[in-house]
Assembly symmetry: C2
Homo-oligomer: 268 residues x 2
């Protein structure tokens, strides 16, 4: 069992990923795909005159402030378009994909943050009305049912709160939770870089292998989005996933390359 | 087994429908919902500077010309937003809804039209590059699987071509095909009118009961969107559905009222 997280439409080669997924699928591999879509959501927000607002937490993480209107834009861009086009491409490649978000069938249950702490111009503030969440539970029953019947689940990073509200969640961490809940052997996080770099952006400093114990240290040199991937890797490994591979999503056969040792492999 | 078709967000009372669906669900009724979303797609197209283009067929039906960009707008508005918000409302009401489009799991398989014949300024023309389709088959297996496990499928009117392309399909006729394929007893088509009117728009001319044989005649007085509902009703009845009810979606308890004899009931 393999869980693959890919980005939205930017920075990764959708076609190459789909061809690779199709080859693995024909070889009998069971796969679940989780995707992002921030770039599409940003572009749609801009086009609709409602650009995204990014906020920084006191611990230095950047995230999208998701008010109700932003959540609707996210539904359209990520659940509607990115997920839909990915399912279409898989269908064209002969794979019977089923696009779902974590809202559907309560696949991803999350705790709504509601109020988030941010740092703005050096000052701490609290922002209310946020529709983001932290995943607390995965409905593996529905995923297993689909996999058992030969469908390939394709998951958009939305979740459902205890009250039934739709929430925006981080796609890397969603993939980690899904991989752990399914008892997947491997989680592959595809990205627009060859893997984790010791001295970003120098690609010659790629780390080929590391242990779970070294992940704490990795937070020091992981830059930008890679910080969340490091967090996701830790959550997956703590959840029982055997290995996490951060690998290049811009190349041909990205998944098979990752499985063959390209990228950064983090062993449990 | 009951299939209910509701509109997009305009003209029907979403809240009332969801409350009604929840009550029926708690009473043990198995339901599948199919929705539209044209108004949302139109609004999104307008907002993005890409308004819809409506065309008229030689037999007088009006439909949306769906080029590739329009298909993406349709994915965003209908599969992303309308379907997503409906699933969210159902989840808030305690129903474990699963939003799907006909593209997912090949639930609705269709023949792509590709080129469509239209009449414009009195002249016949052929328009190419159209992504609409006519449904040829329903994957009831996936719907039954979900129903059996206690999920409520909520279907967006998209289908998949033999080549795996996403296609825009008519929601009323999609609901008819789904009802027939599932062997549903009843198909309810909710609309922004009390039912089928003999002299539109005079609501006092509501037809309460009619037989399937009278549907041909109904094509003469059905106006606008009601023509497609008449077609859908015929397809459902020919497919084995026991009765089709065209009923008001703007009132409280719209489904239970329809089942109790409000609206236009067409018996097989």
């Amino acid at each position: 069992m393999l869980v693959v997280k890919l980005g939205g439409t930017e920075g990764v080669d959708f076609d190459a990923i789909v061809q690779d997924v199709a080859a693995l699928h024909r070889a009998g591999e069971k796969l679940v795909l989780v995707h992002g879509g921030s770039a599409e959501a940003n572009a749609l927000g801009e086009a609709l005159g409602y650009p995204p607002r990014f906020v920084t937490s006191p611990s230095g993480f950047t995230s999208r402030y998701t008010d109700r209107r932003t959540l609707e834009i996210f539904l359209m861009a990520v659940r509607g378009k990115v997920n839909g086009l990915l399912v279409e491409q898989l269908q064209r490649a002969g794979i019977n994909a089923v696009g779902l978000s974590g809202l559907d069938g309560r696949i991803l249950q999350a705790r709504r943050k509601g109020a988030i702490k941010i740092v703005e111009n050096g000052k701490r503030k609290v922002l209310r009305g946020d529709y983001t969440g932290k995943i607390t539970n995965v409905n593996v029953g529905l995923l297993r049912l689909l996999l058992h019947e030969g469908y390939m689940p394709v998951l958009a990073p939305l979740a459902v709160s205890e009250k039934g509200e739709a929430l925006n969640v981080d796609a890397d961490r969603a993939a980690a939770m899904v991989a752990a809940a399914l008892g997947a052997d491997t989680l592959i996080l595809l990205t627009a870089a060859p893997g984790l770099l010791r001295a970003f952006p120098d690609e010659s400093t790629l780390i080929r292998r590391m242990s779970a114990a070294e992940l704490d240290q990795a937070m020091d040199y992981a830059k930008n989005r890679m910080k969340k991937k490091v967090l996701a890797a830790r959550e997956a490994l703590e959840g029982g996933v055997q290995r996490v591979i951060m690998a290049d999503g811009r190349v041909a056969e990205p998944i098979r390359r990752a499985l063959a040792g390209q990228g950064t492999t983090i062993q449990r």
